[in-house]
Every structure is written in structure tokens, then in C-alpha cells.
Symmetry: C2
Subunit: 96 residues, 2 copies
């Protein structure tokens, strides 16, 4: 199992636009991507412009395939253009 | 429900010591803290000195009580002393 935390720093004036696209990404990923255990979007309670995806994948292969899916390759650049800086991305294994 | 991501930057030479204390914190929190839905420790696959806790709490009250538990107040300063800088802490609500 692979766990991903992807923290995104959204331009506050573009948050509604970001969230509409992010919702599409979440829905299509959960519906279409093999090996997706969970994939959901979270909003920081102190800074609403910080939006983080928490992801659980069955394997590295499943995560790699997600990165090639049309919804990913089309939506990620659009989401990135609505952010003030690059995302902070970490891939984790569970310890205990 | 409240979701916490607590990213810790451990001194690489003190990782074993950190993980022994972290395991105790995880075990006691899951066993003893009311309103703890999940609380687990993850290691970055690219940088093993980055150790992150992913937490799910039933409510803000449950999270507040966790912060007052003896295992928390005793272990957190010891864990902090084994890190190279303060943790990066975010509290989230789920969007979708």
C-alpha cells in the first residue's frame, strides 16, 4: 500500500474554480482508477487556501497508472495554474 | 470529523530512538483516547527521516482531550527533542 499526501496552495481568489476541478478529479479517480483504495480532498481549517489530497493506493503500479489517466493529465495542469506555488508532495509507507 | 497531518523532521541519527517512542504514542493513543478514529505513523519513501502522523478524530473535543493525555504530554517533548525543526501541523475538514 502507498499513501500520498499532496498539499496545494491555492490562489485565494481562485478557490471556487479550483474546487470545481478538484471535485471532478476526485470523482473520476475514485470511479475509474484501478487500485485506488481512497482519494479525497481536505481543506485546512485555519487557512482555507490550503487544499490537501489524502490518497491510498494498492501499489506503486496503480499510482503510476493514475498519473497517466486522462483526467489526471488534463486536470492537474489546470489545478496547478490556480495555485501560488508548487504542491508539496510526499509518498509514504505505513509504519504502525 | 477532524483530520490531522503532522509532519515531523527527525534527526537521521536519532531515528530508531524516535520510532520507539512514536510506536508507544500510537499504541496508547489508539487504545486510550476517546474519539480516536485512526492514528498511525508513516515514513516518507524518499526521505526516511520524514515521519508523518495521519489522524482522524471524531470531534475537536476529542482532539483537545488527546492533547491533554499523559502519553501525549510526556512523549511529545521527547519526540520533539529528536527532530531538526518544528513539525508541520495541519488540521483539515473533508471536502469530498
Amino acid at each position: 500500500m502507498i499513501y500520498v499526501v499532496a498539499k496545494q496552495f491555492v490562489d485565494p481568489g481562485k478557490l471556487d474554480e479550483f474546487l470545481a476541478l478538484a471535485r471532478e478529479l476526485v470523482e473520476k479517480t475514485n470511479k475509474l482508477d484501478a487500485g485506488c483504495i481512497s482519494y479525497a480532498m481536505y481543506q485546512d481549517m485555519n487557512d482555507p487556501s490550503v487544499i490537501t489530497v489524502l490518497e491510498t493506493w494498492e501499489s506503486q503500479e496503480a499510482l503510476d497508472q493514475h498519473g497517466k489517466a486522462p483526467h489526471f493529465t488534463e486536470l492537474i495542469p489546470k489545478l496547478g495554474a490556480l495555485c501560488t506555488k508548487p504542491p508539496e508532495l510526499n509518498l509514504y509507507k505505513k509504519l504502525f
